[in-house]
Symmetry: C2
Subunit: 221 residues, 2 copies
Amino acid sequence: MPSSSTYKKPVISTSVIKRLPRYRRFLRNLRADGITRISSKELAHRMNLTASQIRQDLNCFGGFGLQGYGYNVDDLYREIGVILGLDKCRPTILLGAGNLGKAIARQLDFNSIGFDLIGIFDKSADIIGREIRDLTVADVATLKEFCKTHHPEAAILCIPSSQVTDLADMLVELGVKGFWNFTHCDLVHRYDNIAVESVHLSDSLMTLSYHLNDSGNTKKK
Amino acid sequence: MPSSSTYKKPVISTSVIKRLPRYRRFLRNLRADGITRISSKELAHRMNLTASQIRQDLNCFGGFGLQGYGYNVDDLYREIGVILGLDKCRPTILLGAGNLGKAIARQLDFNSIGFDLIGIFDKSADIIGREIRDLTVADVATLKEFCKTHHPEAAILCIPSSQVTDLADMLVELGVKGFWNFTHCDLVHRYDNIAVESVHLSDSLMTLSYHLNDSGNTKKK
């Protein structure tokens, strides 16, 4: 099994990457249940995948399974964490401390998955100065100075779409390398070599609407 | 172009379905900019797709484009809404009015995309009785009676994972046909003919972490 130090990252399809956190969730549950090893067949059964799909997915990263033994749950859980970069501690800022921004700041255990929330910014006088977690919401007017001092690597965007591109362009200039985008803006193709992961809540709810209309004719994801 | 009345829904791949809300977002922006017609080539350029992919996607639903004319923006926007079922008004309940549930209840314009939020439930005495939008958070103990009277069609799950399966099983028995799932539970394969759309926020953030690690080597979604 490749160690985190020797691990070399190949180019992997987005669909495989998007399955890795799900593998990790199932492995975390297995660990919680005290299961120390599992066959690809049994893991496939629990995840409603095929054993060969699991082997193919994990082989993208060099395997990890042993013929006749299966997977060591702890090792695979840890290695997937390394592949996902969860062993990092990326300084991260949140823009927009409205209902959603506040909920995200409070809901997620950022440090356990490689992010360190170091600043929260808003433009509304009603929100600036409020305490969220261990942070005080700062005026977005101070964002530039903050970035020059603290060099955030990632930014969470929970601001109105109209404000997104200007702020995102500025953050990229200031060295931000990735956005977690909750706005309606499509930032994915705006920048080169900037990671963008979008959560379009309305799109997701519309997809549910389609499936409800379709009364289960389509494959659910 | 098929009208909403004559429109027959075929079986479509999940990936095509998941692109429909994005088409709709771009079309909404075109309408806002006063653009009334657009070629598949121009739409492809704006959406960073290929013209043939757009034609293929929309042909799944019977086309809509006219050779040499392109797409009528208003008509396509409206038809995609019909395909997604956004013309409905599905009675919907929200379980879990903590930070995330509260934010979702307040953030989304449910009625504009086919859902009608008619009840919010929680088990915490601190939260029961609070006002969110025009609704008063009710005790989850009253959920069963509420469902028998008001017949919700969809449920939004913002509750701790430990409470999910019991409540979801009960709601399915009571006639709920779809879940918008914000929990860590994997409900997708638990039921037949129940629509499940999941938003796993941690999974999404882990995917961003991978892309940050990968410094843009992988295709971004």
